[in-house]
């Protein structure tokens, strides 16, 4: 707050009373927290929004709704009931032999118009796109039948555009979806789609779960799955990203094997980094040997040179060893300079006296390192392990260059690129893309949650610089 210069202050004016000054202090900190809240909201908001969108049937819908089935506990309960009735599975739903599902819909219309029974059918719809459709073998249409069980009439109050209450009539139709008796040996079907066609004069006002989309100006309402189960409703896109990115020949989930590959590579990189970095870090910090300064200079230099400068040669090395498209290439290729630097800094702050004593007692360097240094270096090793795992998991460039085929050999980050290529266009299936992005973050998020106290420490910040 700018102070007033002497020229401004005329003797006739008084200073602000103490109460007013206190108010000003409070207001200043109110502003501080408001701005802070706004920044935090923007930062976290983007992720929250994207996560919400990743649950939606259509993440690109406009206007963006904040209230939809996937966030509505009433719909979760209904979905759990439907899943229970469909396949005895309240969580993931489905339709199995012996299923008997009640699905009730309520239509409303102004007084005077008759509400007719909608035409109901279980369509032969292929879910999703591309590979998923090709892999689909069993259709609910072949195994399920739908029939009207009961219908009942009632009245409801509706407020029209001018705000006047009107009495509308409503009719509730209860449909029963059964697994056909003559096909009792059939398979469990993952999804039960439903189409309802009704004249535009009547509108749907209630159903256990909302229709996935409306077509032909609201005449045709269609549900992708009326037996979803609670998790099947909420995390439909997440289930799809696992199931629908499948290999055409084997039918195995590509996303699943991408996750496994990334995990193998990250663990491998972690172990290798710990060995290389602790040995080299100790030697650079403690031991005098010719060439150590040169090596340290090379270390610093290598941290400024982008990977694009070295990748052609490294690609050729692994090609000549026939190690392309294997995890080994990606594990070995990275020079762990930053990790060595971190270990070196740690060992420099480590008291010398203990080692000196051990050496006087006749231990050799390696024994000292193994028995005394390493057990005491656990915090630094932990930080290094986390950094190495996270770096390997999030690495995009090296897997992109060194692993190109077959599709199931990719890592999850490069897999995200192929997800975007197949589904991420202007009319794309963004639910799949976003769900894939969030799924790929889960391991690092777990790591972060487990070791948060160690990560959010000055040592870690030092490691980044």
């Amino acid at each position: 707050m700018a102070r007033v210069t002497a020229a401004d202050a005329s003797p006739s004016r008084r200073r602000l009373p103490a109460g007013a000054l206190r108010r000003r202090q409070l207001a200043a900190s109110a502003w501080l927290y408001l701005i802070f809240l706004a920044v935090a909201a923007i930062m976290a908001g983007a992720f929250v929004l994207a996560f919400m969108a990743s649950l939606k049937v259509d993440p690109l819908e406009r206007p963006f709704r904040f209230h939809f089935d996937q966030l509505n506990p009433a719909a979760w309960i209904a979905a759990a009931r439907l899943g229970q009735e469909g396949a005895d599975d309240a969580l993931w739903g489905g339709l199995s032999p012996g299923a008997k599902v009640d699905f009730s819909v309520t239509y409303a219309a102004p007084a005077g118009t008759t509400i007719v029974e909608p035409r109901a059918e279980i369509p032969r719809r292929r879910p999703g796109s591309g590979v998923a459709a090709a892999l689909m073998r069993y259709y609910a249409a072949d195994y399920a039948s739908i029939a009207l069980k009961t219908s009942s009439s009632a009245m409801m109050q509706v407020r029209d555009e001018t705000g006047i209450l009107q009495a509308w009539q409503t009719r509730t139709f209860v449909y029963e979806i059964t697994y056909r008796r003559d096909r009792q040996n059939g398979p469990r079907i993952e999804r039960t789609p439903l189409n309802l066609t009704a004249p535009p004069s009547q509108t749907l006002v209630d159903s256990p779960i909302s229709p996935s989309r409306a077509e032909r100006r609201g005449r045709l309402l269609s549900w992708d799955n009326i037996t979803p189960g609670a998790l099947g409703l909420i995390f439909n896109n997440y289930r799809r990203v696992i199931n629908e990115t499948a290999d055409l020949q084997t039918g195995k989930s590509l996303f699943g094997s991408w996750l496994v590959n990334s995990f193998v590579i990250a663990i491998g990189r972690l172990l290798l980094t710990l060995v290389v970095a602790s040995l080299a870090g100790y030697a650079l910090a403690r031991l005098k040997f010719r060439g150590s300064r040169l090596l340290f200079a090379a270390l610093l230099f290598s941290m400024t040179i982008p990977a694009q400068v070295t990748f052609v040669s490294n690609y050729l090395i692994f090609r000549d060893l026939s190690l392309l498209n294997t995890p080994w290439a990606v594990i070995v290729v990275v020079v762990a300079s930053a990790n060595v630097l971190l270990m070196k800094q740690f060992f420099e702050g480590f008291p010398r006296e203990i080692e000196e004593a051990a050496i006087v007692d006749g231990a050799n360097r390696f024994q000292v390192f193994w028995k005394i240094i390493l057990p005491n270096a656990r915090p630094a090793l932990l930080v290094n392990a986390i950094l190495a795992f996270q770096g390997a998991w999030n690495d995009f460039f090296w897997p992109l260059v060194l692993i190109t085929s077959p599709p199931e050999a990719l890592t999850v980050q490069v897999g995200l690129l192929s997800l975007r290529r197949s589904f991420g266009g202007a009319q794309g299936d963004w639910g799949l893309v976003l769900a894939g992005a969030f799924l790929s973050v889960v391991p690092v998020l777990i790591l972060f949650a487990l070791f948060q106290r160690h990560i959010v420490s000055t040592e870690f910040t030092k490691g980044i610089t």
């Binding site: 707050m1 700018a2 007033v4 004016r13 200073r15 207001a27 927290y33 802070f36 920044v39 935090a40 930062m43 992720f47 969108a53 690109l60 206007p63 963006f64 060995v275 290389v276 040995l279 080299a280 100790y282 031991l287 005098k288 040997f289 060439g291 090379a298 400024t304 982008p306 694009q308 400068v309 070295t310 052609v312 040669s313 490294n314 690609y315 050729l316 090395i317 070995v332 020079v335 762990a336 300079s337 050799n364 360097r365 999030n394 260059v401 690129l417 975007r420 290529r421 991420g424 963004w430 893309v433 976003l434 790929s440 972060f448 948060q452 959010v456 000055t458 910040t461 980044i464 610089t465």
Partner: protein, 362 residues
């Protein structure tokens, strides 16, 4: 055996794995890249020496010049903006004492996410009729509301301050208490006018091409501006934490002393905070330069969602020449461009370092 020679030997044994990895995957690789930059090579036939013709081809390749311009523009823009924002945010958080613990956790999240996942989320935000477009559309629809708010806010604040200055001394134009009252008053004004139907709402069905466009804004393609926004968004929290650590190591007695001596908030910032943070700033700027000059992941994931010329950076140009889609590799060109990128990085870091050292000498 003397002690020094045994130390020498175990030293070499200890660094052996690291030295092998460094020699093979870094030193040898750079030498080979330098060699290929003077050769004609497609990964299969034996390389043939062609002198400087790769470099000549680079300079006459329009895409290379575009990539170079894009990279430099992007690097300067993002490094500047993220450093300034991170510092501002750190100062803010440093004052908001009660929220610090929460901040440290929340603000780490963007930095642990992979660039691939981040880019996908931003691609979704930046779709033609995506969320970013919706925000712009709402701002345009309510432009009269927003205008009225700011006019009302300024006017109210002016009136309040001038009125108070008649009786009291030491009332700043930005008096926080009056600002709060003026904001609430202006909000009430807008709300009242909106409810009374005095303010029109402009319906629009905007579609903005944030990514898939050839348009330029100032010195950079619009696509890269969008990527820059994303990059700033991801890096600011991490850099903010670095600044925050630096800020917390400044003894508060310095500020108290300066306040007693009559230094105002800006003077305190300029003469205490900025000099004390110089080492951190140097680290942040260096990291920023290195990170932005080699920006690759975001561009690769954008892929065919944007035209090549609007998104190409040097790092991507190198990759694109080494593994072009549906053509044979131009390793010579790729290597020459890679060397340009490496030398550019070193040069900028070196220049920045020497400036930093000189300033520290003051």
């Amino acid at each position: 055996m003397s002690r020094t020679s045994s130390e020498e030997r175990s030293g070499w044994l200890f660094v052996l794995p690291f030295t092998i990895s460094m020699a093979l995957f870094f030193v040898y690789a750079i030498v080979r890249t330098a060699f290929y930059s003077f050769a004609d090579y497609d990964l299969f036939k034996a390389p043939g020496f062609v002198g400087l013709s790769n470099y000549a081809a680079l300079i006459s390749d329009e895409l290379f010049l575009i990539a170079l311009r894009n990279t430099i523009g992007f690097s300067i823009l993002v490094t500047t903006v993220q450093t300034v924002l991170a510092l501002a945010l750190a100062v803010l958080v440093n004052h908001a004492v009660r929220a610090r613990g929460l901040v440290r956790t929340v603000f780490y999240l963007p930095s642990i996410m992979s660039s691939a996942a981040m880019t996908l989320i931003f691609l979704w935000l930046f779709q033609r009729d995506g969320f970013m477009t919706a925000i712009v559309s709402v701002v345009l629809a309510y432009r009269h509301h927003i205008l009225l708010f700011f006019v009302g806010f300024t006017a109210l604040q002016g009136v309040l301050v001038l009125n108070a200055r008649r009786t009291y001394e030491g009332v700043s134009i930005f008096d926080p208490f009056f600002l709060l009252i003026a904001a609430i008053g202006a909000l009430a004004l807008v709300g009242a006018c909106g409810l009374a139907g005095l303010l029109p709402v402009f319906d629009n069905h905007l579609r903005i091409s944030w990514l898939n466009t050839q348009r330029h804004f100032l010195f950079m393609p619009v696509t890269l501006w969008s990527v820059a926004l994303m990059n700033v968004f991801t890096t600011v929290p991490t850099l903010m934490l670095l600044f925050l650590a630096g800020l917390q190591s400044i003894p508060s007695a310095l500020y108290d002393a300066a306040e007693i001596d009559g230094a105002n908030a800006f003077q305190r910032f300029r003469h205490i905070t900025v000099p004390a943070l110089r080492p951190v700033t140097f680290a942040v700027v260096t990291m920023g330069i290195i990170g932005t000059l080699q920006m690759f992941d975001q561009v690769a994931i954008l892929g065919d969602a944007a035209p090549l010329a609007s998104r190409v950076t040097l790092a991507y140009y190198v990759y694109e020449n080494a593994f072009p889609a549906g053509a044979s590799s131009r390793i010579g060109m790729a290597s020459a461009a890679a060397l340009v990128l490496g030398i550019l990085t070193i040069a900028v870091v070196y220049v920045q370092k020497s400036i930093g050292v000189r300033e520290r000498g003051d």
